[in-house]
C-alpha cells in the first residue's frame, strides 16, 4: 500500500511535463500559450479561474491591461475614475514601490519570460529527434518564443530598468536570479533580436497573430529610437536601418481605413504588424480589449458593442492637441461631426459632461473616447458578441507608428533616412486622417515638437504615450504640465525619477540581488 503514494494526475485536463508533448500539435498549443499570456489571465475564460499570477484580480492582472494602464494613465491622454486600489496614483504621479499594479506588471513580464524560457527548452529538446516539416515548425516556434521573450524584456527595460535576469539556462524552482543593469539588458535584447531575426518567418508569410521578421525589426527600431533614454547613447542611425526594412521590405501597408484598426475586423487590416488577439467567445478576458472598450464607455456615450463601465476618458490636453475646444462639441452633436481629422474619436456633451476634470472620480469629468469599440468598421455589431467581451484585437505594432518613428529618427540626426521621405510618410498619414491632401505639412513644420503632437493624434490610447513623453523629456519635471499631474487640479512638476517605475517591493523582498531604482524608498 505504500506504493499508493506514487501518484500521477488523473485529471484528463492535466498532464505531466513528461507526457504532455505526445504529438506535434501539443508544441503549437504550448507556443499559443506564450502568445496568449499577453491576452488572457489564466486557463479559464469568462469570469476567470485557474489564474496565471496571484495577488491581484484576474482582470486587473491581465498583461495588456496592466501595460495599457501603466503606459497611458501617467500621461496627458487618459484619466481613470475608479477606486481600484492605487490606480489613481498613476495619473497623480504618486505611485509607490508596493503598488499592486506595478507589482503585477513586473510579475506579468517575468511570467511571460519564464513561459518563453520553458518553451525554448522544450522545443530545443524536441529538435533533437524531429525531422522534416515538424523540425522546421519547431525552429519557427522557438524563434517566435525568443522574440516574445525579447519583447517582454523590452517592457522591463522601458518601465523598470534594472531587473532580474533569467534565460532558458536557468532552472525552474526557487533561487535568486542575478540582477542585470538596464544597459546590459539592452545589449542582450539587441543581440537576441539580431540573432533570431533570420529564424522568423519571412515578411507576410506567417499565420495571423503570429509574428514574422518585421516584428523583430520593429522592436529593434524601438530599442534604438529610445536608446538615449535606455543607455544614454544615441542610436538613431541604427533605428533608421531597421525602420527602412520595416517600411520597405515588410510588406505591410497603411490601412486606408484608419478606424478599422481599432474595430472587430482589424484582423483584416494590412497595417498591423503584431496584434494581441481577442475574441468574445474564444478569448474572453475582463482585462485586455474588454477592459479598454468597456471602461472607455459611460454616461450617455453611444453604444459600442459592449457594456459601459465608465472608467477611462481623455483630458482636455489631448483633445486640444487636435486643436479642438469645448465649444466645438454640443449636446446635439457630442462627437463633433464637423471635425476634419477623423482620427479624433471623442464624445463630449456639454450638458452632462465637464471639460475640466474637477473630480478625477467622475467619469463625465473629461472627454469620452470611442476609438476602440467592439463594432465592425462598418458599424455592424460583433458577429461573435458575448456579453461585455470584446473581439477587437489590440494593434501592438503597426506601420503608422514606424512612419512617425522614421521621421523622428531623421529629425534627431539619424543617418540612413531623409527629411523628404520623412515628410512624405507623415503626410501619407495625414492624408488618411483627413481624407484629403489639404492638411499636409511643409518641411518647415516638420519639427520634433510637431512629431510628439502628431504621435498623440495618430497613436493616442495605443499604449505609446508614456514612452514617447519620456523620450521628449516631458513625462516628469515641469516642462509640460497637464490636469492633475502631480495630484493638483492645475497640474505641477513631478520628480524625474518617476521616468522609471520602482522595482516592486515583493521582488526586492524575495530576491536579495536586486536594488531599488533611484528616488524610491524601500
Amino acid at each position: 500500500c505504500i506504493n499508493d503514494l506514487d501518484v500521477e494526475p488523473i485529471d484528463p485536463n492535466e498532464a505531466t511535463a513528461t507526457n504532455v508533448f505526445s504529438d506535434e500539435l501539443s508544441y503549437k498549443r504550448a507556443l499559443a500559450r506564450v502568445y496568449a499570456t499577453y491576452a488572457i489571465s489564466g486557463q479559464r475564460g469568462g469570469g476567470g479561474g485557474l489564474p496565471d499570477i496571484e495577488g491581484i484580480d484576474e482582470g486587473f492582472g491581465n498583461y495588456l491591461r496592466l501595460y495599457w494602464n501603466l503606459q497611458q494613465l501617467p500621461t496627458d491622454e487618459t484619466v481613470m475614475a475608479w477606486d481600484d486600489a492605487s490606480i489613481k496614483d498613476f495619473h497623480w504621479h504618486t505611485w509607490s514601490p508596493n503598488d499592486v499594479f506595478i507589482g503585477a506588471m513586473y510579475s506579468r513580464i517575468f511570467y511571460a519570460i519564464t513561459l518563453a524560457n520553458e518553451f525554448i527548452r522544450t522545443s530545443e529538446d524536441a529538435m533533437g529527434s524531429a525531422t522534416g516539416d515538424f523540425l522546421e515548425d519547431l525552429r519557427l516556434y522557438q524563434a517566435e518564443s525568443r522574440f516574445l521573450r525579447a519583447f517582454s524584456y523590452w517592457h522591463a527595460i522601458d518601465m523598470f530598468g534594472n531587473v532580474s535576469f533569467v534565460t532558458d539556462e536557468d532552472p525552474i524552482g526557487a533561487f535568486f536570479p542575478q540582477r542585470i543593469t538596464r544597459a546590459d539588458l539592452f545589449d542582450y535584447v539587441e543581440q537576441e533580436l539580431i540573432d533570431l531575426e533570420g529564424d522568423l518567418a519571412a515578411p507576410g508569410t506567417n499565420e495571423y497573430a503570429r509574428v514574422d521578421r518585421v516584428a523583430a525589426w520593429m522592436l529593434l527600431s524601438k530599442l534604438y529610437l529610445n536608446a538615449e533614454v535606455y543607455i544614454g547613447e544615441a542610436k538613431y542611425t541604427e533605428a533608421l536601418t531597421y525602420l527602412n526594412k520595416v517600411i520597405n521590405e515588410g510588406g505591410y501597408s497603411i490601412d486606408p481605413n484608419y478606424i478599422r484598426m481599432f474595430r472587430v475586423d482589424n484582423d483584416q487590416s494590412p497595417e498591423i504588424i503584431f496584434p494581441i488577439s481577442f475574441n468574445a467567445q474564444n478569448t474572453q478576458q475582463y482585462g485586455g480589449m474588454t477592459f479598454i472598450t468597456n471602461a472607455s464607455r459611460g454616461g450617455n456615450m453611444l453604444p459600442n458593442g459592449v457594456g459601459a463601465w465608465g472608467g477611462i476618458r481623455a483630458i482636455k490636453e489631448l483633445v486640444e492637441i487636435f486643436g479642438f475646444n469645448e465649444s466645438d462639441f454640443t449636446t446635439e452633436d457630442p462627437v463633433f461631426n464637423a471635425r476634419e481629422d477623423h482620427r479624433a474619436q471623442f464624445f463630449f456633451d456639454p450638458e452632462s459632461w465637464s471639460w475640466e476634470v474637477e473630480n478625477v472620480g467622475l467619469f463625465t469629468h473629461g472627454i469620452g473616447v470611442y476609438k476602440f469599440t467592439n463594432l465592425r468598421s462598418d458599424g455592424e455589431p460583433d458577429p461573435m458578441a458575448e456579453g461585455d467581451f470584446a473581439s477587437t484585437d489590440f494593434p501592438m505594432f503597426r506601420l503608422g507608428d514606424a512612419y512617425l518613428m522614421y521621421a523622428e529618427a531623421v529629425l534627431r540626426g539619424g543617418q540612413g533616412g531623409s527629411r523628404a521621405i520623412a515628410l512624405q510618410l507623415v503626410n501619407e498619414l495625414r492624408d488618411r486622417a483627413f481624407g484629403n491632401t489639404n492638411h499636409r505639412i511643409t518641411d518647415s513644420e516638420l519639427t520634433l515638437d510637431f512629431i510628439l503632437d502628431e504621435r498623440a493624434r495618430e497613436l493616442y490610447w495605443e499604449a505609446h504615450r508614456r514612452t514617447d513623453l519620456i523620450r521628449f523629456g516631458k513625462l516628469t519635471g515641469g516642462d509640460y504640465i497637464w490636469t492633475w499631474k502631480g495630484n493638483v487640479p492645475e497640474g505641477r512638476s513631478t520628480g524625474a525619477f518617476r521616468d522609471l517605475y520602482p522595482i516592486p517591493v515583493n521582488d526586492l523582498d524575495t530576491n536579495p540581488n536586486l536594488i531599488q531604482n533611484t528616488g524610491y524608498s524601500n
Binding site: 485529471d11 469568462g46 495577488g55 504618486t94 520553458e118 467567445q281 524575495t510
Partner: protein, 986 residues
C-alpha cells in the same frame, strides 16, 4: 412495544429505599421500571417503593439529574436499596481518543468531552452547533444564516497560513474528508446532530499526535448513539421553529432619498441627470426580500437490543426554511448502528451506517446586497415587457426607457434576483464503517482491531438564470448551468492493543497501520438559452476535474501508569502523503506526555475537600499536508485551457498548454506544541475545572507566498516558508451551585485567550524581515485588500491608514496620519499604513447555566467575545455619496451611516471603518418541562420552548458583530429563532 421475555418465571415482591449519594436524603419520584416492559412504579415521598418482578428481571432506576441505576432481581434479595449518583460533568467517563479509549482521569493530554446533556439546545442542524461556546479554545463561527450553512471551527487559533486550519473530524472512528461535495454547503451536515452521543475535542499535540498527519489544528471526535442493553425503546424528538430577521440595514427611504439626491445636485455638484432618474415610489427592498420562516424537524429512533445485539436505528427529517425568500434545506438522515459480539464477547463488532439526502434551494443571495443598494424611489414593477415587469435600469442612451438595453453594471432588481434565479442542488451521502475488535485468546490483554470504512457523496445541482433577468445579458453562455460531483474516501486501520499490569505498573500499548484514500471528481456544464442554427446551444461549454490522494501511516502509543498516580504517554507516528515527492514524503511525529494525579498522594489524603487534582505536561509534533485543491504540488504539470481561454493562430482557436508552478522539494509543515495543564475538583467535584497553557510553533509553513520573479510559473508559489507561533491560556470551570433534591443549579464558564504571531515569512537569511504580502480582499473597486501578513504581526492583521478627525470629531476625508513623515500624498504610500488588530478576539468567554426545579428546567448559554476587530465593508463600500449616482445612469441607495463620515468618495483604507466588534451573544435560552408516565406507564418525555440567537450586545455599527474573517460584507443574516420542541420516549 412489548418484547416478551422469559415465561413462567418466579415472581417476587421487591421493596427498598432510594437515597441521594451526596446527602443521604431520600429521593422521591424516581421511576423504577422492569427493563423492557411497561411495568413500573415510582418512589414515594420518603423514597421507598414496592414492585412485583420476576427473578432475573432488571430494575431500572431513573430520575432526572441522576445517573440511571440497574439492579438484578433475585429470589434471595428482595430488599434493594439504591444510592443514586447525581449526574456530574463527566468526571470518570471513558473518553474516546484516537485508536482506542481511556478513562478521562487517566488522560494525559488536553481533552474536552461534551455529552448529550451539555449540548446546546435549539434548532441546531449541524454538529458544530452543539458545542458552540462550550469548550475553551474552540471557536465556532457560523458562516451565515443560510439554511445548512457551514461554520468555521478554530481550535487554539490557526497553526497554518495558507494550508487548512480546519480540525480533523473523526466520526465513529472514521476521519472524514473536510472538502465538501458540490451542492453541499457544509461537509459536517452529513450527520444529524440528534444522532450524536458525545463530541470529544483533542487540543494539544500529545492527544492529537496519534492522528499525526492531520492533527495540527486539533481533532474533533464524534461518537454517535448506540443500542442499549434493554428491550426496544422508541424516542421521538421534534420541533417547530420560527426564524425572523433581527435587524435591517439603516438606509434612506424613498422620500429621504429624493431629498438627498436633490440636495446633492443643488449643493454638491452631482450630475443633474440624476434627478431625471428618480422614481416616485417608496419601496423598502430589504423588507421585500425577507420573510418569517417556519421550519420543522422530526427524528425517530429505535434502540435497544434485539437477539442479543444492541442496535440503534434512527430517521430524521428536517425542513429548514431560510428568512431569505425561497431559500430552504430539506434533509433526511438515516443512521443504523449495531454492536454484535461473538465467541463469548471475544470478538466485538461495531457496524455504523449513516445516510443522508439533502435538497438545497439556495435562492439568490445576490438579492441581499441588491436590496441593500437598490434605489428606494423605484417600484418593484413597472410596465416593461422585456424584464417580466420588474423595474430595470435602462441605459441612458436608449430611447425606450422601459424595454431598452439594461445598464449591465447597475444594481439589479432584488425581487427579480429572487424570481429569476433557480439555484438548487441534491446531495446524497453515505458513510459506513465496520470495526472488528478481537480479544486474542492466547494472550490476555491483547486485542486486535480492524476498522474498514467508506464515505461516498454525490451532489448535483443547477443554477439557471431566466433570460428575462436584466443581468442575464452579461455572460449569456452561463445562464444555464448544471454541475455534479463525487467524493470517495476509503479507510483501512489495523492496530494491536496490549494492556497488562505488573504490580503497580500498568502498560497500555498500541501499534498500528492506517491507510486512507481520497477521490474527488466533478463536472459542470454551461450554455445559453438560445439554440444556434446548428441545433447546438450557443456558448455551450463544460468543465471537469478529477483527482486523488493517499495517506499511509504507521503509529504506536504507549500509556504507562505507575501506582495509578504517575501517567506517561508516548506516541510516534510516521505518515506518508502522496502530496509530496519521494524524498519528502514521510514525516515522523513524536509526542510525549506526563500526568500526575496529585490528589492520590498520601500527603493529600486528608484534604477531603479536594476531589481531584491532576497536573499534565505534554509535548508533541504534528504535521500538515492539507493544502487545498492542489493534490500534486511537487509534479510539473501542464494544464489545458478551457474554451474562452483559447488563442487564435490563423483561423483556428487553440486550447493552450500551460505549465503550472510546482515545488519539487515541498515537504511537511510541522507544528510543535507544549501544553501544561491542571485538572481540579473540589467539594466532591461540585467545583471542577481545568487550566491549560500552551505554546505552539509551526515551522516550514506550507505557504502560498510571493517568489523571486522569473523562477517559477507564477509570482506566488506553494512552498515551505516561514514560521508562526500561537500561545494561549484556557480555563474551564463548572460549579454545581445548588444540588438539592428538587432544585439544582449548575453554572459553567470557560475562558480562552490566544496570541498569534508570524515569526518568519522568508527563507532569506537577512536581517530585513520583509514586507510580507496583502490579503483580506474587500468589495469596492477591484483587488483591494485591507489586511497584511507581516513578520512580527498576527496573521490576518488589518493594515490601514490612521484617519485624521476635525475638532468636531468628524473624519476629514482623505486625510491620514503621515506616519513616514515624507509628506506629499499620504494615501499614496503604503508605508503610512498601520497594523491595527485582527478579527480574532483577544478573549473568548463562554457561559452556561442549567437550572432544574422539579419537572422544570431552564438553561441558557452565551458567549462573550472581546477585542475582535471588524472592518465594516458595507460602510466603506457604500456609505459614500458618490455611490448615489453612477454616470451610466442609475441611482443607488446608501446607508445612513454616511452621516458619520460625510465622505464623498471611497476611502477603503481609512481606520474609521475598523471597529472593535466585541460582543455578547446569548446563543440560546431554553425552558423545559419533563414528564413521566403520561397516559401510559412507559411514556415519558420533555417539552421545550427556546429561543436561539436570543440577543446580542455590542457597540458594532453593522448588523452582526460576529463576522467570519473579520470583513463585514453582505452576508445572509443570522435569524433569531423561536422553537417549540418535544422529546418523547416510549
Amino acid at each position: 412495544c412489548l418484547i416478551p421475555l422469559g415465561v413462567s418465571a418466579q415472581q417476587v415482591n421487591v421493596t427498598g429505599r432510594v437515597t441521594d449519594s451526596t446527602n443521604g436524603e431520600p429521593v422521591p419520584g424516581v421511576t423504577i421500571v422492569i427493563a423492557g416492559t411497561p411495568t413500573g412504579t415510582i418512589t414515594s415521598i420518603d423514597g421507598t417503593y414496592s414492585i412485583n418482578a420476576n427473578v432475573g428481571d432488571i430494575l431500572q432506576f431513573s430520575f432526572i439529574g441522576y445517573d440511571t441505576e440497574r439492579r438484578n432481581v433475585s429470589a434471595d434479595a428482595t430488599v434493594v436499596n439504591v444510592v443514586m449518583q447525581p449526574s456530574v460533568f463527566g468526571v470518570d467517563e471513558v473518553v474516546v481518543i484516537g485508536y482506542g479509549q481511556i478513562r478521562k482521569s487517566d488522560a494525559t493530554g488536553s481533552v474536552n468531552v461534551i455529552g448529550a446533556d451539555d449540548f446546546n439546545r435549539g434548532p441546531i442542524t449541524t454538529p458544530q452547533g452543539l458545542i458552540t461556546g462550550r469548550i475553551p479554545g474552540v471557536m465556532v463561527t457560523q458562516g451565515s444564516g443560510a439554511p445548512g450553512s457551514g461554520s468555521t471551527i478554530r481550535i487554539r487559533g490557526g497553526s497554518s497560513l495558507s494550508a487548512s486550519n480546519d480540525p480533523l473530524i473523526v466520526i465513529d472512528g472514521f476521519p472524514v474528508d473536510n472538502s465538501g461535495v458540490e451542492g453541499l454547503a457544509n461537509p459536517l451536515s452529513t450527520i444529524n446532530p440528534n444522532d450524536i452521543e458525545s463530541m470529544t475535542v483533542l487540543k494539544d499535540a500529545s492527544a492529537t499526535a496519534i492522528y499525526g498527519s492531520r492533527a495540527s489544528n486539533g481533532v474533533i471526535i464524534i461518537t454517535t448513539k448506540r443500542g442499549t442493553q434493554d428491550g426496544l425503546n422508541i424516542n421521538y424528538t421534534g420541533n417547530v421553529s420560527v426564524g425572523r430577521l433581527v435587524k435591517y440595514h439603516d438606509v434612506f427611504d424613498g422620500n429621504e432619498f429624493r431629498d438627498l439626491i436633490a440636495d446633492r445636485v443643488a449643493n454638491h455638484g452631482m450630475d443633474p441627470v440624476a434627478l431625471t432618474r428618480l422614481g416616485q415610489a417608496n419601496t423598502d427592498w430589504q423588507d421585500e426580500i425577507y420573510r418569517t420562516a417556519v421550519s420543522t424537524d422530526h427524528n425517530v429512533s429505535f434502540y435497544g437490543r434485539y437477539n442479543d445485539i444492541p442496535f440503534r436505528a434512527s430517521i430524521g427529517h428536517t425542513i429548514e426554511n431560510g428568512i431569505l425568500k425561497e431559500s430552504s434545506l430539506s434533509r433526511t438522515t438515516l443512521a443504523v448502528t449495531a454492536n454484535p459480539s461473538f465467541f463469548d464477547d471475544q470478538l466485538r463488532v461495531t457496524i455504523n451506517l449513516k445516510g443522508m439526502d439533502i435538497h438545497n434551494n439556495f435562492s439568490n443571495q445576490d438579492a441581499i446586497s441588491s436590496a441593500f443598494q437598490f434605489d428606494p424611489s423605484q417600484p418593484i414593477r413597472n410596465d416593461n415587457t422585456r424584464y417580466g415587469g420588474y423595474f430595470t435600469w435602462i441605459e441612458l442612451a436608449q430611447a425606450d426607457q422601459l424595454n431598452g438595453n439594461p445598464i449591465n453594471i447597475a444594481t439589479h432588481n432584488p425581487m427579480a434576483r429572487l424570481a429569476y434565479r433557480d439555484d438548487q442542488s441534491d446531495v446524497q451521502s453515505a458513510i459506513g464503517n465496520i470495526q472488528f475488535d478481537y480479544a486474542v485468546p492466547f494472550l490476555e490483554g491483547l486485542r486486535a482491531n480492524l476498522n474498514m470504512g467508506m464515505e461516498v457523496s454525490e451532489g448535483e445541482g443547477n443554477n439557471n438564470t431566466d433570460p428575462r433577468a436584466s443581468w442575464s445579458l452579461r455572460e449569456p453562455s452561463f445562464n444555464v448551468q448544471s454541475y455534479r460531483g463525487t467524493r470517495k474516501n476509503q479507510l483501512l486501520d489495523f492496530y494491536l492493543n496490549y494492556v497488562t499490569e505488573v504490580g503497580d505498573h500498568r502498560f497500555d500499548a498500541t501499534a498500528g497501520y492506517g491507510w486512507q484514500y481520497f477521490y474527488r471528481s466533478g463536472s459542470s456544464r454551461n450554455r445559453s438559452w438560445e439554440m444556434g442554427d446548428d441545433g447546438e446551444y450557443i456558448g455551450a461549454g463544460s468543465r471537469a476535474y478529477k483527482n486523488e490522494n493517499y495517506l499511509v501511516s504507521f503509529f504506536g502509543r504507549l500509556n504507562y501508569a505507575f501506582m495509578d498516580r504517575y501517567l506517561v504517554t508516548a506516541t510516534l507516528r510516521n505518515d506518508g502523503s502522496s502530496r509530496f515527492g519521494k524524498d519528502n514524503r514521510w514525516g515522523l511525529f513524536p509526542a510525549f506526555a506526563f500526568a500526575w494525579k496529585i490528589n492520590e498522594e498520601s500527603f493529600l489524603e486528608n484534604a477531603d475537600s479536594l476531589s481531584e487534582l491532576k497536573m499534565r505536561f505534554g509535548y508533541g509534533v504534528t504535521g500538515q499536508q492539507d493544502i487545498g485543491t492542489n493534490y500534486y504540488p511537487y509534479i510539473p504539470i501542464y494544464r489545458e485551457s478551457e474554451q474562452g481561454a483559447y488563442y487564435r493562430f490563423g483561423d483556428t482557436y487553440y486550447s493552450t498548454l500551460r505549465p503550472n508552478p510546482y515545488d519539487a522539494n515541498l515537504k511537511w509543515e510541522e507544528t510543535t506544541t507544549y501544553n501544561l495543564g491542571l485538572d481540579f475538583g473540589f467539594l466532591n467535584n461540585r467545583i471542577q475545572g481545568s487550566v491549560d497553557v500552551y505554546h505552539r510553533e509551526t515551522v516550514d509553513l506550507i505557504s502560498n507566498v510571493p517568489i523571486a520573479a522569473g523562477t517559477n510559473f507564477s509570482n506566488y508559489l506553494t512552498t515551505n516558508v516561514g514560521s508562526l507561533e500561537n500561545q494561549g491560556i484556557e480555563i474551564d470551570l463548572n460549579y454545581r451551585a445548588i444540588s438539592r433534591l428538587d432544585l439544582r443549579w449548575s453554572i459553567g464558564a470557560n475562558f480562552s485567550a490566544n496570541r498569534n504571531e508570524i515569526t518568519s515569512l522568508s527563507n532569506l537569511d537577512t536581517e530585513d524581515a520583509g514586507v510580507g504580502y496583502p490579503l483580506g480582499g474587500i468589495s469596492g473597486g477591484t483587488g483591494n485588500t485591507v489586511m497584511w501578513n507581516r513578520v512580527g504581526q498576527a496573521a490576518n492583521t488589518f493594515f490601514l491608514f490612521q484617519q485624521v478627525y476635525d475638532t468636531n470629531g468628524m473624519p476629514i476625508e482623505g486625510l491620514y496620519v503621515d506616519k513616514t513623515g515624507e509628506g506629499g500624498n499620504v494615501a499614496g504610500n503604503n508605508d503610512n499604513k498601520y497594523f491595527m488588530g485582527t478579527p480574532t478576539p483577544d478573549f473568548l468567554i463562554g457561559i452556561s447555566s442549567d437550572l432544574k426545579y422539579r419537572n422544570w428546567d431552564f438553561s441558557f448559554a452565551g458567549r462573550l467575545s472581546i477585542g475582535n476587530e471588524v472592518y465594516n465593508n458595507n460602510w466603506s463600500d457604500r456609505a459614500i455619496y458618490q455611490e448615489l449616482y453612477n454616470q451610466s445612469g442609475y441611482l443607488s441607495n446608501i446607508p445612513k451611516a454616511v452621516q458619520r463620515t460625510n465622505f464623498t468618495n471611497a476611502q477603503y483604507w481609512s481606520s474609521v471603518y475598523l471597529e472593535d466588534a466585541s460582543f455578547f451573544r446569548m446563543d440560546h435560552i431554553t425552558l423545559g418541562y419533563s414528564f413521566e408516565r403520561l397516559l401510559t406507564e412507559r411514556l415519558s418525555g420533555r417539552v421545550t420552548a427556546s429561543v436561539q440567537n436570543a440577543f446580542v450586545i455590542t457597540d458594532y455599527s453593522g448588523l452582526d458583530p460576529e463576522v467570519s474573517g473579520g470583513i463585514d460584507n453582505n452576508i445572509y443574516p443570522r435569524p433569531r429563532t423561536f422553537m417549540l420542541g418535544v422529546n418523547v420516549n416510549f
